[in-house]
């Protein structure tokens, strides 16, 4: 048998192969450089937080409509996966650092002030004003609180298409087993506590309440209801160009008192309200009514709730789809407003579309944004009730007929009197400190010491940011 490897590679052949390899590599590099420039004139690049399948669906849905406006324009939607908005934001910023800056980004409350304060997002004021006739239906249907949360220093930086407000989900099966009926819409913390105690008596590996360690929908919901916040609440002046203009002309009540956005001041993380709220959930755990809180995206909690082991937990509209996908039948869970404590304030986070200041196609990008906030785009982007639509007209019984819950209208009603989560420009540092100090409090059982530490951490983060 002939030795196929007998002939050695001579230098000439090797150099020839090496040269060919270098040439190929150079060609690839040049191609990459060309792509970095923007993918060609007229290509609008968008980063989307979610699955690529949804991103592709959106791209395919919006592309033909974009082509009608500009025959040479094309849309490229790229999905970025992440466990939560923190994770998404970190990946986006890393991509921005590499020089690959998109035109449009899905931006949530968590990261909006961060991106805006760094000058990454462009104000949409002029674009909105120039396109008011196209956006009339949008502004008629969207809750003003969501739009206000997308403002910063008097300017609008995103058009929200979805949100989630922290309501109280409950297992109808466990409630029935404990002899409890559906809580009233205006139930109080005393009512909540009584329900928790009834559920805790069920035993059998079930728990009355569970929660997730994070900024949205955590013990912070109790803090908001108790009249506190992690940071001093303030408002930026301005915004009259929007509130007093034609956009909300048919909703004067809804825009009354709206300003130029939320201004987060000094930390108040160790206030009496905060200590009381955190100690309350710790005490629930120590009494056996609640397991250790979930750390992370909340997947464990979702699994536990779906398997009928948790009586109550904080959730938003995204949980309707989440629980349905986890196998929960419609009717086996329902939702009610978050209980009132000293106040009936609750928390929400919104998500929308902003345009990068460096985008060379701002007008075209805004055309895409306008298409993205159209009702038809919502289901392509967010199929199966995995979030709550920002426009009330999309909140229909038909939408929730396959997933539940029965009282789906709570999701939108919860917005009345709700405040956005406190996400200042140094949000990431705040979220890291909050997670660390919350787990410290849960582990030690001492809310006060942990929150004193959180106060110091946030003060340091604010000082670093400034």
């Amino acid at each position: 048998m002939a030795n196929r490897f007998q002939r050695p590679i001579d230098r000439r052949t090797l150099l020839a192969f090496g040269g060919a390899g270098l040439a190929l590599a150079s060609t690839a590099s040049l191609a990459a450089c060309a792509n970095r420039g923007g993918g060609g004139t007229g290509t609008v690049k968008m980063l989307y937080f979610g699955e690529q399948s949804a991103a592709t669906a959106v791209q395919e849905a919006v592309q033909p409509r974009l082509a009608q406006l500009d025959g040479t324009a094309s849309l490229r939607v790229t999905a970025v996966n992440g466990t939560d908005w923190n994770d998404f934001l970190a990946k986006v910023l890393t991509q921005v650092a590499s020089g690959d800056v998109p035109d449009i980004i899905t931006v949530a409350t968590e990261g909006q002030q961060l991106l805006t304060s760094k000058g990454l997002l462009t104000p949409l004021d002029d674009l909105v004003t120039a396109n008011l006739s196209d956006l009339h239906a949008y502004f008629s249907g969207v809750h003003p609180a969501l739009v206000e949360s997308a403002m910063y220093e008097g300017h609008l930086y995103a058009l929200p298409d979805s949100f989630n407000a922290g309501s109280m989900f409950y297992s109808t099966d466990l409630f029935a087993e404990a002899g409890l009926s559906r809580p009233a819409a205006d139930w109080s913390m005393d009512d909540f506590h009584a329900s928790a105690q009834s559920l805790a008596r069920l035993g059998g590996g079930t728990y009355a309440f569970d929660w997730v360690v994070r900024l949205w929908g955590s013990w912070t919901s109790f803090l908001a209801a108790n009249g506190g916040n992690l940071l001093e609440e303030g408002r930026y002046a301005g915004g009259d160009w929007l509130w007093k203009g034609a956009a909300f002309s048919d909703n004067p009540v809804g825009v009354a008192g709206r300003t130029g956005g939320w201004k987060w001041g000094d930390p108040t993380a160790n206030s009496a309200a905060a200590v009381e709220a955190l100690q309350y959930v710790i005490d629930l755990q120590e009494s056996g009514a609640s397991p250790s809180p979930d750390v992370g995206g909340g997947n464990t909690l979702q699994g536990l709730f779906a398997s009928g082991r948790i009586g109550m937990t904080i959730g938003g509209g995204f949980w309707a789809g989440g629980l349905h996908n986890a196998g929960m039948a419609d009717g086996s869970f329902d939702v009610v407003q978050f209980p009132a404590w000293r106040t009936s304030t609750s928390l929400f986070g919104a998500s929308g579309y902003g345009i990068f200041d460096s985008s060379p196609h701002k007008d075209l990008a805004f055309e895409v944004v306008k298409l993205m906030v159209q009702p038809e785009a919502f289901d392509a982007l967010w199929p199966g009730n995995i979030t709550t639509p920002a426009q009330r007209s999309l909140m229909t019984a038909e939408r929730y007929s396959t997933t539940g819950p029965e009282h789906w209208s709570v999701f939108y009603d919860q917005l009345d009197g709700a405040v956005p989560i406190s996400a200042p420009p140094y949000y990431n540092a705040l979220a890291t400190a909050l997670n660390q100090r919350t787990t410290q409090a849960v582990s030690s059982g001492n809310a006060k010491d942990a929150l004193d530490g959180l106060q110091a951490d946030i003060e340091a983060a604010a000082a670093q940011a400034s």
């Binding site: 090797l14 910023l93 660390q436």
Partner: protein, 316 residues
């Protein structure tokens, strides 16, 4: 004998003949080929190791939030580093966890290798080798998520079976002490296959005649292990210890996924601090300073290991 020698003419010293031109060309060709062969590796190491380290060193003297341009701050990041209690504590956590992991990984790997080698049947040895090596092939992220469920205080399998046996469960991931223990157990469970395979190969290479000689001299199994086998495989033990220590000092996945560095900062390692500073708090200059300090510490520890090896490692 030649005439010239015979009449007393001093003979010329024998000339050392240099390589002939053809041989010279062949040698040059060979060395060029050699350089060409290693050039890709050198390029790879330069681009993916040397340049990032130098870039990180440069960044550590700047303040950079990714979005704006870096600004020179001199030694500010290092000054902050030595006064930042949380970050310094994360280095303490890292060293503590690394020591526990390395000691367990080496001793358990050696013990398992000895036991597996003692099996007479080759099939049994192969079975053990495969079994202990398998966890190493699994994705660390997947293992960490899975272990998070298994060690869950209220719903985990571990506490369930402990309770079934009438034993109290532990707060595996919620208590600062137990969270560290759990992380160490999970890392050692997954990584022990690496040291195990190295030790199995090294033990198989120990000459049989040396073992037989020890046996004839009356050495029992333990004495043979500690006085014959271990010294003979000590270069492998050194290699395994150095690699295990370097890996353990960069511990990230397991604590990040299982405990997010908590409870509090109990399992926040240096690399988690680095990640938080860079990718969460957007302080890449400070994160680079942490990376440089970690590099220096790993270098020092590795240096100490090699110094100790001069006395402890036996090169036959």
């Amino acid at each position: 004998m030649s005439h010239a020698t015979r009449v007393g003419v001093r003979p010329r010293p024998p000339q050392i003949e240099g390589p002939r031109p053809a041989a010279k060309r062949a040698r040059r060709r060979e060395s060029t080929f050699g350089y060409l062969m290693i050039s890709l590796a050198v390029l790879f190491v330069t681009v993916f190791t040397v340049v990032p380290i130098l870039a990180s060193l440069g960044l550590s003297f700047t303040s950079w939030d990714v979005i704006s341009s870096p600004s020179w701050v001199g030694l500010d990041n290092y000054r902050r580093l030595v006064t930042d209690g949380q970050v310094l504590a994360s280095f303490g956590v890292t060293v503590g966890l690394a020591l526990a992991i390395v000691v367990l990984q080496i001793s358990l790997g050696l013990l398992l290798a000895v036991l597996a080698n003692a099996r007479r049947r080759n099939a049994t040895r192969v079975f053990f080798r495969t079994s202990f090596y398998l966890p190493l092939l699994a994705s660390t992220a997947a293992v960490s998520i899975f272990m998070g469920y298994i060690f869950d205080t209220k719903f985990g399998l571990v506490n369930y079976y402990l309770n079934e046996l009438g034993l109290p469960g532990a707060h595996w991931l919620d208590d600062p002490f137990w969270a560290k223990v759990t992380i160490v157990m999970v890392v050692v469970w997954q990584q022990v296959g690496f040291t195990f395979v190295l030790f199995v190969a090294a033990l198989m290479a120990v000459p049989v005649d040396v073992q037989e000689a020890a046996s004839i001299d009356g050495a029992g199994p333990w004495r043979t292990l500690f006085q014959i086998k271990v010294p003979l495989i000590s270069p492998t033990i050194l290699f395994a210890t150095v690699i295990a220590m370097i890996n353990a000092m960069q511990l990230f996945d397991q604590p990040f996924i299982m405990t997010k560095g908590g409870p509090g900062t109990a399992t926040t390692t240096a690399t988690i601090s680095l990640y938080q500073a860079g990718f969460q708090n957007l302080q890449f200059g400070f994160a680079s300073a942490i990376a440089i300090l970690l590099l220096i510490i790993i270098g020092i520890i590795t240096g100490i290991q090699f110094l100790a090896a001069r006395k402890l490692v036996f090169y036959a």
